[in-house]
Structures are given as C-alpha cells and as structure tokens.
Symmetry: C2
Subunit: 148 residues, 2 copies
DNA sequence: CCCATTTAGGTTGTGCACAATCTAATTGGG
DNA sequence: CCCAATTAGATTGTGCACAACCTAAATGGG
C-alpha cells in the first residue's frame, strides 16, 4: 500500500459530482417545459416556502452570493415570475415577491420531485436516508468552516 | 395530505446540490494552492488513471461534452500540465497526455481526498456507503436514459 | 471508387458560481 | 451630531456546463 491509486470511481467527490449532474439532468427536461432552470427552481422553492425574502436571505438558504443571485433573480423577474421591491424600512434590502404566475407555477412542479425520485430508482425510505446523510455532511462542513 | 409543502430542506435534490457545493468548497482552497480548479482536478484524475485518453473518452468518464472539455483542457495545457496530440491513426482524435509537471502534481494531491473526508466529518465506512449509494443512483439514471 | 452519413472535436451563446470590487444605505462610537 | 465602519446589493472577470452549430476526418453502401 505504498502506492496511492486515486482511482476516479473510488472518489466520493466524483460520486457526488456525478450524482448531482445526473439528477440535474433529470430535472432539466421537466423544468425546460416550464421555462426555468434548476437553480431558478431552487430560488422559487425558497420563495414558495417564504415569500418576500430578501436577496441575502435567499443567499443564506441556498448558500449563493449576490453575484450569482442578482442576475438570476432578474431573469425570473423578466419572465414575470417574481417582482423585486426595495424594503421601505431599509432601502438597502431588495425583497423578492412571487407574482400570481410565480405562485401558479408551484402547482405545475409539485409532482416533479416524485418523478425524479422514480427515475433515480429510489424507494422513499432510501431517499430519506440519503437526504439525511447528505444534509449531515453539509452541516458538518459548514460547522467546521464557521470555526475559522 | 392534500397540500404539497415542497419544503426546501426536505428535497433530496437540494440536499445533493448543497452537499456538492459544500464539498467543492472544501476542495477549493486546497486546489487553489496547486493552481487548478475542481473540474480540472477531475480531468487530471481521469488522466492519472489512464494517460493519453482522447477528449471524448474523458468526456465519457466524466459525462462532460466537448463544449466544456475543449477550453478546460486548453487551460490545463497553458499551465503546462498536459499536452494535446492528434492521433496518427485517426486524425479526428485528440489525445491528452500528462507532462512531467502533470505527473508530479499527482503526489501533491494524493492526500487531498482524505483531508476533505475528515473535514466532512465522515468515517471511512460511512464514506464508502455514501459513495456506493450515489454511484447506484447515477447508474440507474444513466441506465434509464439509455432506454429512450 | 464515390458520396452520404457518422464521428471527433471546436465554437458560440446563455446561464450558473465565485472572488473582487463598487456604491449607497445604515449604524454606532466619540 | 458626524463620520468611520458595516451591510445590502450590483457589477466585472474568470471558469464551468450545456445546447446548437460547424468543419474535417473517417466510414460504408452502392
């Protein structure tokens, strides 16, 4: 064991990268029909859960910075799915509100996650177990980083 | 259960997306010191495993197309880590060969995956289990797609 | 042998992701 | 009250990712 093989297939980083790409690829045709991308879908998820969040609040939830979110949210606005309004109490903040079209879209995507799970060949139980494992990894990474 | 909550935290797609981002973020400072990015690291992994692969072979392993790989490999070439050579037997093919610097880099990164695993708070066993779960998801997605 | 088809790789355009930088609004210490 | 420091968001530059398209090389059926 003096050699370090570094075989691609053995790397967890690559397994994660591939799985993420494959799952995004499953979402793509479904979201294409609705005219949105996968990251835009995530922003909408954050808004369906709590409408009127500020850009930085969305960024805190999705772990994305303004350099990513500013243009993304503008594209959602151009499609008429959200509206951006300056917060009256703090003019620095931009709150993002769903339009009626943005609200309606929620019903159209409600079945998408289930369709994806089926295509991924996952039972509901294994799905939940995987999700919890992934979330604990993410949590421990972010926890470690906040110790800097 | 007439309502469909679509809570962000409950979505496996989001757990996967977040974990992938978090792990990439762990790699970033380590790879920064070596002057390469995470996708460039994956291409090098594919070459350390089998030097002289063609662009399309690398694409088959990493599931990336020429639109992504062509410029990425050119950047690796500009850094002196790889060389591109047309295959004599089939002039359409471009084979990518590691330079001495490219080979040397392998030893410098050999400990990186372990460091990342530690930071992610994972034991070796849970790491392998996760990897296998992810790989089976990726496999079943790609298997399904080839049935089209 | 010839030309239609296929295959390899590159290019262009759009969108995500992040670092670095900028401006404007807010806050807080003296 | 005033100005330095902080905070929110936007902008710029680089690189990844993919669809659509392009050219050249190889292939294969007639």
């Amino acid at each position: 064991m003096t050699e370090n093989p570094l075989i691609l297939r053995d790397q967890v980083c690559f397994a994660l990268y591939s799985a993420q790409h494959a799952v995004t690829g499953l979402y793509r045709p479904l979201l294409d029909e609705l005219g949105i991308t996968y990251p835009q879908f995530l922003v909408l998820l954050a808004l369906w859960e709590a409408d009127g969040r500020s850009v930085s609040q969305i960024g805190a939830v999705l772990r994305l910075d303004s350099g990513t979110l500013s243009p993304l949210i503008k594209r959602l606005e151009q499609q008429g799915l959200v509206e951006r309004r300056r917060d009256a109490a703090d003019e620095r903040r931009v709150r993002v509100h769903l339009t009626p079209d943005g609200h309606r879209l929620r019903e159209q995507v409600s079945d998408v996650p289930r369709q994806v799970a089926v295509a991924a060949g996952l039972t509901p139980e294994s799905l939940f177990a995987l999700r919890d494992t992934l979330n604990s990894i993410t949590a421990s990474i972010h926890h470690d980083q906040s110790k800097d």
